[in-house]
Symmetry: C5
Subunit: 383 residues, 5 copies
């Protein structure tokens, strides 16, 4: 019998899977208390690291895949602009070599490698580190995935760290460099940083749009037919919007600091572009807060709908009970077996009794109809 009380193990297993996924939304990486600052934490299931180099100036653009860290050294001091893209955070030796070659501060390396971190920008004088969370979601799935992208902006290079190789939006930028579209080849690594950061930020819009659609759908369904399964859906939407807000909110600070910051690594002319990023982040925050407020009003609507439904159920019960209980009582009276009940032998006694019942029932029906309680019966028709 206990199987009725304990939840189905398969259901729980499924929940466990979901749980792990949900975990992703809200955890940050943290060091073991007391551990050495700058310790790199290589996850067992992290992808092995590989480096993709793109070196360009106004006249040329080359691309090299699977470059060793040492092979990057010549590009460090050159006049051309180099974008070194470290894909996968699973090879400690490669990451440490990169750290040594680029003279990365141990805390900087820790932040780009030990994912996820809170988005932030930090100025290490010779280098500017930017941490951002990229989000994306498959068209056919609910929820979203997020992945950390770390930027290290130097005088003539940009170093990026990704958890795994993201083809989609970064590829568009890569192609633009090769095709010499736009002004990317005429400008420095700061403009390249802007292009990549902007494509990360623009990636939030389609994800948020899906939540807008889910809220619309929920809203329509709640008004048409409130059901308890919507409760869980509302909760999930609120939870995931909370997770999105957590990712977007610190981006506001990041882009604000890039616009107002004093770093010499960002050319004043490029700051206008980061101001554009900042505007987009403000728009995102505006949307996410609006959706959160809508989702929260949906909960109110749900609760009120449930309360309405209960009211209607109660009215049906009350109308039926109140009409029949007095009638049943009268029937009971004349079902008594007293020897001397004069009404029983009256000539039209039975008909008079039925008539009395009819009058009582009619009065009650009229009473309830006047008060509009029969609407509870009609209102179900709309379902």
């Amino acid at each position: 019998m206990t199987k009725f009380h304990s939840p189905d193990p398969r259901l729980l297993q499924q929940l466990d899977l979901e749980e792990e996924e949900e975990q992703d939304y809200f955890d940050y990486f943290y060091d073991k208390p007391g551990s050495e600052p700058g310790t790199l934490n290589i996850e067992p299931d992290a992808k092995p690291s590989r480096i993709v180099l793109i070196d360009y100036d106004e006249t040329h653009a080359i691309r090299k895949v699977d470059v060793t860290p040492k092979a990057l050294i010549p590009y460090l001091g050159s006049n051309t602009i180099s974008w070194m893209d470290v894909q996968g955070l699973g090879s400690e030796t490669i990451l440490k070599q990169v750290g040594r070659i680029f003279k990365l501060h141990p805390l900087l390396l820790e932040d780009v490698v030990n994912v996820p971190q809170r988005p932030k920008v930090e100025d290490y004088n010779e280098q500017l580190m930017i941490i951002a969370q990229m989000v994306f979601s498959q068209p056919d799935e609910e929820g979203f995935h997020s992945e950390q992208v770390g930027f290290v902006l130097g005088k003539s290079y940009l170093l990026t760290f990704q958890e795994e190789q993201i083809e989609d939006c970064f590829d568009i930028v890569r192609n633009r460099i090769h095709a010499n579209q736009g002004k990317v080849r005429q400008t420095g690594p700061d403009y390249l940083t802007y292009l990549l950061l902007d494509s990360i930020i623009d990636g939030y819009f389609p994800v948020l749009e899906k939540y807008g659609d889910r809220i619309e759908t929920l809203e329509d369904q709640l008004v048409l037919r409130p059901q308890s399964s919507y409760l869980e859906e509302i909760y999930t939407v609120r939870r995931e919007l909370l997770a999105l807000r957590r990712a977007i909110w610190p981006l506001r600070n990041v882009t604000d600091l890039l616009v107002r910051g004093e770093s010499s690594l960002i050319h004043p002319e490029i700051k206008i572009y980061f101001r554009d990023c900042y505007d987009h982040v403000i728009q995102l925050l505006d949307i996410v807060e609006t959706y959160r407020e809508l989702a929260s009003s949906l909960m109110d609507v749900y609760l009120s709908s449930m309360s309405n439904k209960m009211n209607e159920v109660m009215q049906v019960l009350t109308v039926i009970s109140t009409i029949f209980i007095p009638l049943t009582f009268i029937a009971g009276v004349y079902g008594m077996n007293f020897e001397d009940m004069p009404e029983l032998s009256w000539p039209w006694g039975y008909e008079a009794c039925l008539g009395l019942m009819f009058i009582i029932a009619s009065s009650l029906v009229f009473f309830f109809w006047r008060r509009g309680w029969f609407n509870s019966f009609y209102s179900f028709k709309k379902d």
Copy 2:
């Protein structure tokens, strides 16, 4: 039978239409992630662009309709003040020509063309860009429409971008220029900007007033007769007030920056007028926040009314049940067929039994009357 469970397709279709309209309230335009900054997005259903030129100084005022972008060049360097009004954002070539002639920054052109954007003001040194949302609503419809207006203020010209030609309030300003009313002909394009921005801001008041009326009506109706259909109306009002607040809130920043900003394009004497705009925006925010708070208390009132109604329903059920259930039991006892039931053959047995029932019923009626439960019966009379 499934047609009872699945919602009516016509109803859904109607909801779809509504959905699209609702979509308008909350979405912002966003670039495809990775796209080139400054890409213009021409909606297929956008109106073709046409340019209306008004050129004036203290002594003359001319108006030209359907001017080509090239024809604007002579007016750029002249001493007179020119208002170039681009109506419709559907012609990419015209928009790009305008961008080249006025040397608009690609990001500026993107912001005025790719609608809707969040209201903002941005200083491009030689030009000041202002984005605002104009709202209006027909007297006989619920909800409201919004449309973006982009301003580019130069030294001797004002360039405006509208989604479509808005006759109403801009025409009043146009007529005032021709009739040489007020001080518009004696002042520069900054005063003209003020006149147009002020008429946009003043346009929010009648829209908000309609929501004030809807809240009043809801409030009166809720107190008179709570019904479940009001729930949806409250939700809609809250949702649309949220949308209005989203449009007004950034206007606060816009007008504040115009008052405090360092831009040389706005004459200090004209800043007093923008301070007036700022005051109006603060008044709007004050009203919208007040209405939002009232709408939110309405939800409380609605929930409490429903809870009251349920209480009354329950009291009716309880009073009727509690009175008749014991009586029915007594009738049941004397309806039993035991052979030896002495009461049945008592001479006044039946009358004694009826008397007992009467005493019990009276006691219960008295009990409930003393506790005021019969008010539930009376209170329905008010409906």
Copy 3:
């Protein structure tokens, strides 16, 4: 029959009246979109304007009623201090003449004439404009009235604009000038401004005190006997406190700016007095926020009381039903007409049956009594 469903027209009419009054609490004046800045809006039912002049210095004080605007000119440049009080905003010519004589900025004149405006202070270099809302309420009425007072402080004069003649608290100041009480005759128009503004601010305290009393009364009544009529009262109190907060909140800014402002029209020594005004406004805000929080907790108490009441109703129903339903079933069993029911012919069958019923009823009574459900019956006694 429809008269039961549609609300009583007299009730609606009464609501309409109330509605208009409520309207007053939340609307601001706004220009017709596109109208000329500085347009005066004369309400048809506005009182005709009349000017009361009080001119004084340390040695003399004169008072002139119904002065024409032109007659004010000599007092403008004199060394004495002049208080020109414009009562009633219904005469456009008089108001425009005053505007010309005092060289009022069109926007300033608009703000003091087109009522109501949000309280504010604005510095026009030669003049300081202050807008405030005065509130008052008759001892025997609920709610409150509010009226705008506009101050224009010049070097040697104070110009005030009132919607109608307010005798009460301004008269006390007038009398003090004539009686040469306090230091008003030894100081400039800034001290006079302080006196009038302080009397406006102090006027909020008795109005707020009435709401404190209403909340106390509601609180006592809710605990003694929750009734659905209190719901509307709580809503009204919340609504009116919201209106009061809207009037007081901007006064905080006004008084703060008067204390910290750079205007040369306020003598540093007098700023100590405005600091006192500021303290009073902070106290008002503190009270109004406290009352709002109390009113909001009252709603919680009301909802909980209703929920308690429903619980008690349900317990009464459940106790009565649960006791009698099984008994009625037993009576029903022995009322069946089967030919062969051995119990019916048992010698003590009837008595045994009654005994069984008694045992069942006693067990259930004991069960419910142990659980304290009979408290629901007793608890009504307290009502």
Copy 4:
């Protein structure tokens, strides 16, 4: 009969008393609108004023009770430090004399005499005024009392104004001066101000601790046995915590201004001590906000408990009704008097009928037991 509907007059009287006490928590003193600034308001029931003088330096310390204001004059210009403690605010002449002798600004005198005022600090150049609210509560009573203490700190003296003579914590400071404990005799009146203000602030902790205990008790009781009487208790706790927050919140500003203020009357070395006061006020705020949040969650717990209880009541009713109603129907069918009912004459008809009833009852019991509804019956056992 009306005595059931109108509340017991003794109860109301008791409520009136309570009301007055509650009034104390939330009102501020306010001037009659239009009254002269600096008017002293002597309450009829105020204690007569008496002055206690303590004069000390490193080498001596004297104490004089019931000193006349004039007798204070010699101590004003002396090199010793004088603490003049005005106890009781009922004697207008004494208070005015003190005002003249110490050259107190009329607004300053008004603030220390017209109680209660909002805590604040104000710098009158030669004097620093501090207003604070002291709270205390008897061990055996609920709620707390509050009393205003006004400090006027001069170059060589400290003037304090109390509503009545408070022996407890000020006496400890007095004794410390006489016993020359600590560094009080080696420092100026600023350190004395610190000692007194710190003892006022420390006095809030035991009062708050009582509320912590009340919340703990409520929490335990709510979980064990939810009762409607706790609702009032929760409301009272929330109300009184709101009152405490109102007293503590402005103290934050007061102590912050004392630490950061530019006044020359506070020696920089003593500011470290006021920083300690500031820390204590922050701790108080932290505690009071935490308690407020706990009290507010308690309301949620209470509402949920009530909802649980109702659920259980409904389940009992539903289980009993659903089991017996079909059985009673069957009994009713075989109680019908049709002439030709074949089952009635079946040999085992009665036994078959009882068997059918048993099967139906068992199925329903099994159905409900499987769904765990009998827990509602068991769960009452915990009460």
Copy 5:
């Protein structure tokens, strides 16, 4: 019988124990009002103090246990870096001796000894005091413990005060000094402070993670099977997260002041490390606020689930009652004993009556099935 009404004494005792533990979460230490500033408060059950000295520079590192305060004097002026760790706050003489030797300000000594204090940082010119709360929890227990750690950072030494000897994370740092791992031996006492503070901050993450898990579990359980026992669990989680937030929130200020502070005791190069601490605190705050919001939505989910459950209970009752009450009435009618009831003697009267009942029952079943009320019966299957 009273034992049913009064809670079980053993249960109360258990609650008392819990209460004391809960007390820990929310109280601060406070002085007896009026007491001497700088008074040390030695708890009777405090551990006796012992001092552990670690002295090191780049070339050596020694460790001495149970050092007397006097033995610390030679290390004060030396060039080596000394970490004096005072474990246990129970020996007043040792603590006072340490105060004298290190010339600690009385308020500083009070803050590190009288635990718990609110986390803070205070600059005493020659010394920098930091107060922090360390939290930890055993793997198998719910809740957490917290303990104060006080730091006094001097030019060449670090003095720490702990309530009791904490081995875990401080030992890792001790071992790193001895093993000369990392850069701790090459840097000053400011870096040591960073290492210890960072390990305290990192200690919050695993504690918070446990709450994340508890929320996940609650969430899954609530959706599967809402039960009243979860209410208490939600309340406990909210309460403990509130306590954690109270400990973390002031750490934000502490780390921010260490990064931005002007103190010469922290080398600018080390500030980058404290910036890392600050980032971790922001992450903690972010997590704790997210969890608090999730816990608060859980309450909504719980309330909605309860309301759903009630709806289902009511539907079961209404369906059963509404079907059988009319049938029972019909049976009652034909159980009446009127002499002349024609239907009773109809040939197929009984069968017609049963047929009528069947038709009525079928219609009602169809009516309820169409409205989906039988889902309430099915939905229980999921439990």
